[in-house]
């Protein structure tokens, strides 16, 4: 067994949930998230030689997952205004506050593309503006503008449910 294969196996076991969660939050669909998760790890597998021990593997994986989700979204662009009960149930089987789980699903489902991505990274993953800007290769000021617009959309649609 090569050391790369052994490292890869360890990465898969450690980060499958992490990548799946990022993909699911960005795409809002279990099948799409599954596809993207598999794609992310295959990319990782092909690039194991480029792993830099000095850098955070988690950040590297996060960047690959976000970009793969965005590519997938662009290729398979779908109407995502509708909230599917199945997806609500998937969220419901996870831990956390019972009311907020479905509410967050619904909130994210009203955001498209870049707005959804920045909200997921900033609020759910608690990444800094600088980290998000670096992952998306966009200026920090633009990330802030996207976040601002995303918040306005969310408040417009969910003011009543939140208060």
């Amino acid at each position: 067994m090569s050391s790369d294969s052994s490292t890869f196996r360890e990465l898969v076991h450690t980060y499958t949930d992490y990548v799946y969660n990022l993909a699911y939050r960005n795409l809002g669909n279990a099948d799409d998230a599954r596809d993207v998760t598999q794609e992310v790890f295959l990319k990782l597998y092909r690039n194991m030689g480029k792993l830099d021990a000095g850098k955070s593997i988690k950040n590297w994986i996060c960047t690959i997952a976000i970009n793969a989700s965005r590519d997938y979204y662009r290729t398979h662009r779908r109407h995502r205004g509708a909230f599917s009960l199945d997806e609500g149930l998937i969220a419901a089987r996870n831990q956390g506050h019972p009311d907020n789980k479905l509410l967050v699903e619904k909130m994210l489902s009203t955001l498209d593309g870049k707005y959804r991505t920045v909200v997921v990274l900033f609020y759910l993953e608690q990444k800094s503006i600088a980290e998000i800007a670096s992952m998306l290769k966009r200026p920090q000021v633009l990330v802030k503008v996207w976040l601002h617009r995303a918040r306005k959309i969310l408040m417009k649609n969910f003011a009543e449910e939140i208060s």
């Binding site: 599954r34 998760t37 598999q38 295959l42 956390g96 976040l147 601002h148």
Partner: protein, 202 residues
């Protein structure tokens, strides 16, 4: 500060991580109940987003990924190259290998052609303590749900599957979590991760 100015930037105040500071903003909110209520709504929205629990990956996804990577090794010839690539190239040796597999089919009960020269095979395995057994291989894209074996009265597990001629790898998934190569099939293919898949040449 005027209320209209405050409202324009209230959402940023709800996310202090943004590092936005405006002199007079906090004072205004403390003094103005209407803006304070509005700020409260923003703060609640951020709290809801922060409370979102991570979604957990479906069962078996990690194993599916490892199998896909192992398959990629074979298709790109990185590690399992010798096993599959040599068969069609070796002529006489390939023929002998094929005969060996046919002989092994008659010796080992796991791979029994129900009707010779057809592509339907019965896979049989003995897992006496299992509550479920699935047949998972490259012929069903390593789908763990596709081929569930049925338990026979004698305790063995069995499934008959239609497979087109070709070279295949497979494993049994026992109780949805334990991966086992066919214990009595002598054809073993390295999976690229230190383990083995069972091999089948039809």
């Amino acid at each position: 500060m005027k209320c209209s100015q405050v409202r324009r930037i209230l959402d940023t105040l709800s996310s202090p991580e943004l590092g936005v500071e405006h002199s007079g903003l906090s004072e205004h909110i403390q003094a103005c109940s209407s803006c304070a209520a509005e700020y409260e709504r923003w703060a609640k929205m951020v709290a809801v987003l922060h409370s979102a629990p991570p979604v957990v990956a479906p069962e078996g996804l990690a194993q599916d990924i490892l199998q896909l990577a192992a398959q990629e090794d074979l298709s790109t010839g990185q590690s399992g190259k010798a096993q599959w690539a040599l068969w069609p190239k070796l002529g006489l040796a390939g023929g002998l290998a094929a005969i060996a597999v046919i002989v092994s089919l008659s010796i080992y009960p796991q791979l029994i052609p129900q009707q010779p020269r057809t592509d339907r095979f019965t896979f049989r395995a003995s897992f006496p303590n299992a509550s479920s057994v699935s047949l998972v291989g490259d012929f069903n894209k390593w789908n763990t749900q596709h081929h569930a074996l049925a338990r026979r009265e004698d305790g063995a597990w069995e499934i008959s599957v239609a497979i087109a001629p070709g070279s295949y790898q497979y494993m049994f998934l026992v109780d949805g979590e334990k991966w086992c190569a066919d214990p009595v099939n002598p054809v073993q293919i390295p999976d690229g991760f230190g383990g083995y898949n069972s091999g089948l040449q039809l």
